[in-house]
């Protein structure tokens, strides 16, 4: 690729560009650190990513306009020029197509002669850890569908299969248990990864289910291991291995039934919590966003939801005190239990045995607040 064409060494530039670039470089310099070996190269960071380097003009042997075309940056040991743009202000700015990699050493060449070397430092090594794994119960259904891994900082993508392991009864390391998905299912800031147990092995009478069997077996105990070798996006590994042990119980083939939930309502004129007992653990992240409280007219009541008891219970505290009268719970039909059964349909519906699924998008339960 060609760098943008400007006469930086003769100073023959439009003033608008000059001032723009000076302003740009001033802003960048605030965030720059000199990391080169006394060569004066500085790295500029955007959102904690090394997105550019500044090369002092004095490092460039020839003072001519075309000098910028003769620069190249390469990762140590490589003969390939890194793709990106070279801009000019009072320094030369190189912006690679993707940010530089933490821990790497790079070389800057002019006409194939090395003029500078710089390193990208590793990130802050404190406190990179697994915060939680969901579900958190000791006993899980044999047709458990998904596990959420929550980390303290954004992690490296597309490598989870190398660092997640499941062992059975303390001996066998299980193969082909998790679904190999690319791209992986991360939340937006890459702190929560969703891992699915292979649904083809869970669904009844599919070939993977028939030949390999269910991924989990009733009565066995399992240990999920997340290796400390896994690095975060800044190249820092987890502080320690994370282990989560659970045993496996029976099959859950039934949809959650809001009609059977117990609703314990507080008295009026208080901000006491409304308690909803769900009778089983439901999906942690869906539960946190699937239930709303509304008054009789359907106006949503503002307040805070909390999940507790391994996501088998939730608590709603209103912002304003309760008024006496009738209320309703609005429950999104997509709410699932741990086996992927949602309110409308089981994960895998046996048409001979179960009734036609509901198509309601929102399920409702009414309750009263008394004086």
């Amino acid at each position: 690729m060609k760098p943008c064409k400007e006469n930086f060494l003769t100073g023959n530039r439009p003033y608008t560009i000059l001032y723009g670039l000076l302003f740009f470089s001033l802003i960048l310099l605030v965030a720059c650190r000199d990391v080169s070996k006394n060569t004066g190269i500085t790295i500029s960071w955007t959102a904690d990513k090394p997105t550019a380097i500044h090369i002092p003009v004095r490092l460039i042997p020839e003072k001519k306009d075309s000098a910028i075309f003769l620069l190249a940056t390469r990762v140590e040991g490589s003969q390939t020029n890194i793709l990106g743009n070279y801009h000019v202000s009072d320094v030369v700015v190189f912006e690679p197509l993707i940010p530089f990699t933490r821990g790497n050493t790079y070389h800057v060449y002019y006409r194939d002669s090395l003029i500078a070397t710089f390193n990208i430092p590793l990130g802050d090594s404190s406190n990179v850890r697994v915060v939680n794994v969901y579900p958190q119960k000791d006993t899980l259904p044999i047709n458990l569908l998904k596990i959420y891994l929550q980390f303290s900082s954004p992690m490296r993508e597309s490598v989870s299969a190398q660092y997640i392991q499941l062992t059975r009864n303390g001996t066998d390391t299980l193969k082909d248990v998790f679904l190999d998905l690319q791209p992986e299912l991360w939340n937006e800031n890459r702190t929560v990864l969703t891992v699915w147990l292979d649904p083809g092995r869970i669904k009844r009478e599919l070939q993977p289910n028939q030949k390999l069997g269910n991924p989990l077996q009733e009565g066995s105990w399992y240990e999920l291991l997340i290796s400390k070798q896994w690095k975060n996006a800044s190249g820092v590994p987890l502080q320690a291995d994370f282990k989560y042990r659970f045993t496996v119980g029976g099959r859950d083939s039934l949809s959650p039934k809001p009609s059977e939930w117990r609703i314990l309502s507080p008295k009026a004129n208080s901000k006491a919590p409304l308690l909803i007992v769900l009778n089983e653990s439901l999906d942690h992240f869906l539960l946190n966003e699937s239930i709303q409280v509304a008054n009789k007219d359907g106006t949503i009541i503002k307040g805070q939801f909390y999940t507790e008891k391994n996501d088998s219970q939730c608590r709603f505290i209103p912002t304003a005190p309760w008024l006496a009268g009738e209320y309703q719970l609005l429950i999104d039909a997509s709410l699932e239990d741990l086996a992927g059964n949602n309110l409308n349909r089981p994960f895998d519906r046996d048409m001979k045995k179960t009734k036609t699924p509901s198509t309601e998008r929102v399920h409702r339960r009414t309750f009263r607040i008394e004086e």
Binding site: L83, G84, T194, P199, E289, Q292, S334
Partner: protein, 366 residues
Amino acid sequence: MKKNHFYIGLLLAVVALAATRPFVVNPYGFVKGSPGIKSVSALSFNKDGILFIGDSKTASIFAVETKDAKNDKAVEIAVAGIDKKIADALGTQKENITITDMAVNPVSKKLYVAVQSSDGTAAIVKVDNNAIEPLSLKDVNFSSIALNDVVAEDAKDGRGRPLRVSTISDIGFENGKVLVSGLSNKEFSSTFRSIPFPFGDKQEQASLEMYHGAHGRYETTSPIRTFTTAKINGKDYLVASYTCTPLVLFPMDELKAGSHVKGRTVAEMGAGNTPIDMTTITKGGETFLIMGNTARAISEVNYKTIADFEGALTEPVKGTAGTAFVLVPAFTKVLQMDKLDKNKVVIMQKKENGDIDLLTSANEAL
């Protein structure tokens, strides 16, 4: 007479005005600028060389003008160690990148490869036998559309429900529409959208289910992992590979907004294996579905076999094995595929030593 002069003058004025403007003014409604793409999960082209980019992080589809020059003769692509070469060009190591998709621009026959860096950034590069070039996404002509979030539209509590589509698993272009399949990081559900291009306000979302199990006993919803489209017995079908079962057919004309469509499993590829990319090719006057698999060689199905196997679409499948397919043993661990032109397919393949190569195969050799 004077009146005639007036009309002739008017006509000349109109012609002169028309001559100062291009005949086609921005037919796609593009604007020039930087699209702000945050991730590249899937790529596809239409026949005019417009690149469609599925961006999971912004839950949007971008259409980008590539301005590639027309080229009728496709050069066969063969690059050993393409992952290392791309990593070098990006200033990193191959362990730090994942190739998420690739697509050939049918106008220029250039190969576009989408790359995700482990630090979370994405890039698109153009690859040929000699060079890797970046696709600049600054000051390009583009348009975009946010994927409708039907569930969130119902949320009126301002709790800011996250978008239901967390990952775009595949995109395609057929009959003037961008087709998008998505996966949620929470629900085990199926979203499939069809969005007319040029983008307007309209997009249709169908809810897809399938029969599975012997005698169509179980019905289920599940996310689509990859898909292609095909004509079978003169009718357009969506051919989808799911996360749980490989090959399901849906009639395209039934995939309408709010519709609830049941497809049928027509083939299973065996335990521990799933197709990860699919395309439709023609050879010897017949059309074939070819699939790259996670644990097997490329498998190939003659669409005629699927048609013969079919029966009535609403009938449950008899037996789980379904349609017969042929394995092409030379092509194991195929990661990506696309048609290079009407006679050739470009393939990305993982070798035994872990390297990733690009190679080209004639349709006849598949």
